[in-house]
Each structure stands twice: as structure tokens, then as C-alpha cells.
């Protein structure tokens, strides 16, 4: 599950998201917040809905082994999370859409962790060496070569060892961020903050050198 982290960057104010407050969503919230048979029936319906979402996600990812076990675990964990966070539902979407995202998140995390079960996360130096060894074909223009060379130097010179390890693992070695978070004993949000800070440093260094990776004029 996600956890709190410092904001990575300020964003402009949003247009207010209109609250639907639709009848179906209100009925879900009322039933789940009630006691007795109505509550139990709503919990059972919600679990079935989450199971459907988890199965959908696991099949979409091509999971074949243990789909039912993983889907049930994901639905169970999502149900617990939803009941704990029910008071935070603001009606900015349908209740079922809000609930689905918990089921999909749990299924996605479990699928990624299962895919990496028993696999070593590559050492940062392996991915870094592969990037440093990249040779460009005759089609590579001088500006691209200059940019990539500057990025390599900046990764080496501007980042802390931890920032470099996280950047290389996620951006170059395709290690899923929640798998890396689990291995490092931290959270997805905290790791993304590290990744974001590393990227800001690299962009600042490129800017200092007058290089514009997004295609702006010098």
C-alpha cells in the first residue's frame, strides 16, 4: 500500500472535481457504515466486486499460475483497506470506481512481486555499466550524443549513491518500484521521491550546461 511522502513538486490549482453524490454510491456508503445484515450483505457484494477487479487485472497481466489465490488475497487486502478508508470517500467518482482502484492496486502489487519472487534485483553497477557502454549508430545526431554523455557524467557526479541506485534500478533495469521498495524496506512513495529528486538534479545540471532534453532552443 502507498504511504505518505513529501510532495515532489507543487502543482497548479485544480479545477474543482464535481462531486457525483449519486444514489448508488450513497447506498454503498450507508450500507457499509451500517450494522447488521445490511452491512454484511454490502461487504459480501463489495468483496465480490473486488475479486472481479483482481481477476481482471491478473489476467490482463498474463498471470496463469495461482490466479485464484492471488486474486482472493488481493480482494481480501483491498476490502480491509476500503473499510478502513471509507470515511475518506468524497464522492468524486462513483463508489465502485473508487473501490476498484484498491482492488487493482493490490492485484498489481501482488503480480509484480510474484513475478520477481526468487529473482535478484540487479546490482546498480550492472545497469549503469550497460548504459555507459551504449554505442550510438550512424543515425545518432551530435546533440543526442552530447545529451546522453552529459546525463552519464551527471549521474556519476551529481547523485548520491542511493539516488543513483534507485534511478538505475527503476529507469534502466525495469525493476518495479514496489518490488524495489519491498527489498529496500521502504515505501513506493518514498522511493519515488528519491527518483524525483535525482531527476531534478540531472535536469538542473543539464540546464546549467545549456542542454535542453525536451527540445527547447539553447
Amino acid at each position: 500500500m502507498l504511504s505518505a511522502a513529501a510532495s515532489v513538486a507543487p502543482v497548479p490549482a485544480a479545477e474543482p472535481v464535481r462531486s457525483h453524490a449519486d444514489v448508488g454510491s450513497a447506498a454503498w456508503v450507508a450500507a457499509l457504515g451500517a450494522r447488521g445484515p445490511d452491512h454484511d450483505a454490502a461487504v459480501a457484494r463489495l468483496h465480490a466486486l473486488l475479486l472481479r477487479a483482481a481477476r481482471f487485472e491478473l489476467r490482463r497481466r498474463g498471470a496463469r499460475a495461482d490466479v485464484e489465490d492471488l486474486a482472493m488475497q488481493a480482494a481480501d487486502d483491498a476490502l480491509v483497506a476500503i473499510l478502513a478508508k471509507l470515511h475518506t470517500f468524497r464522492g468524486q467518482s462513483r463508489f465502485t470506481t473508487w473501490a476498484y482502484k484498491f482492488g487493482l492496486l493490490e492485484a498489481g502489487v501482488k503480480a509484480r512481486r510474484r513475478a520477481w519472487q526468487g529473482r535478484e534485483v540487479p546490482l546498480p553497477d550492472e545497469g549503469w555499466a550497460a548504459f555507459a557502454d551504449i554505442r550510438h549508430g550512424p543515425g545518432a545526431d551530435a546533440e543526442t550524443a552530447e545529451l546522453l554523455a552529459a546525463v552519464r557524467v551527471a549521474i556519476d557526479g551529481c547523485l548520491t549513491p542511493h539516488q543513483r541506485a534507485v534511478l538505475v534500478a527503476i529507469a534502466l533495469q525495469d525493476v518495479p518500484i514496489d518490488v524495489l521498495a519491498e527489498r529496500l524496506g521502504t515505501t513506493r512513495g518514498a522511493l519515488y521521491k528519491t527518483l524525483h529528486d535525482a531527476r531534478r538534479k540531472l535536469r538542473a545540471e543539464l540546464e546549467r550546461q545549456g542542454l535542453h532534453p525536451d527540445g527547447g532552443s539553447r
Binding site: L2, S3, A4, A5, A6, S7, V8, A9, P10, V11, P12, A13, A14, E15, V17, F56, E57, R60, Q92, S93, R94, T97, W98, Y100, K101, L104, L105, G108, R112, F131, I134, H136, G137, G139, A140, D141, E143, T144, L147, L148, V151, I155, L167, I170, A171, L172, P176, I177, D178, R188, G189, Y192, K193, L195, H196, R199, L202, R203, L206, P213
Partner: protein, 77 residues
Amino acid sequence: MSDADRDRLTRLLGPAGPELTCEECFEHLDAYVEIELARGEGAAEAAVPGMGAHLAGCPACAEDHASLRALLSDARD
């Protein structure tokens, strides 16, 4: 610039503009996807600024976004 080099730079440097955190992304994902499916990406980004940039920079959140979009689309069919 080749597609491979562009992709490599994008992955290393991330989005240029301000972006949400993973927590903020998850908080607003349901509303964002409903607006996106009903009125398009521009309307969704106007409602949740910084979401598009975060989805461009965070592969895991991008997967969660694609999954919810696919599930809602599937449910509507």
C-alpha cells in the same frame, strides 16, 4: 533523436513539469479516469493538474491508471 534514445532520456529525466506524488495520484485516480473516459484527457488534466506528468514518470502508477481505465472500459462494453 531515435525513439530508443528518446525513451532512455525520458525514463532517466522524467517529466519536465510539476507532478503529483504517488499518494496524490492514487487519491485522485478514480475521478481522473472517470473524467478522462467521459470528456477526454484534457478535461481530466484540468481537473487534476500534474497527474499526466506523474503518469509519464512513474511506471507503477501508469500501470494502475491503465488498469482502471481498461476495467471501466470493459464494464461499459
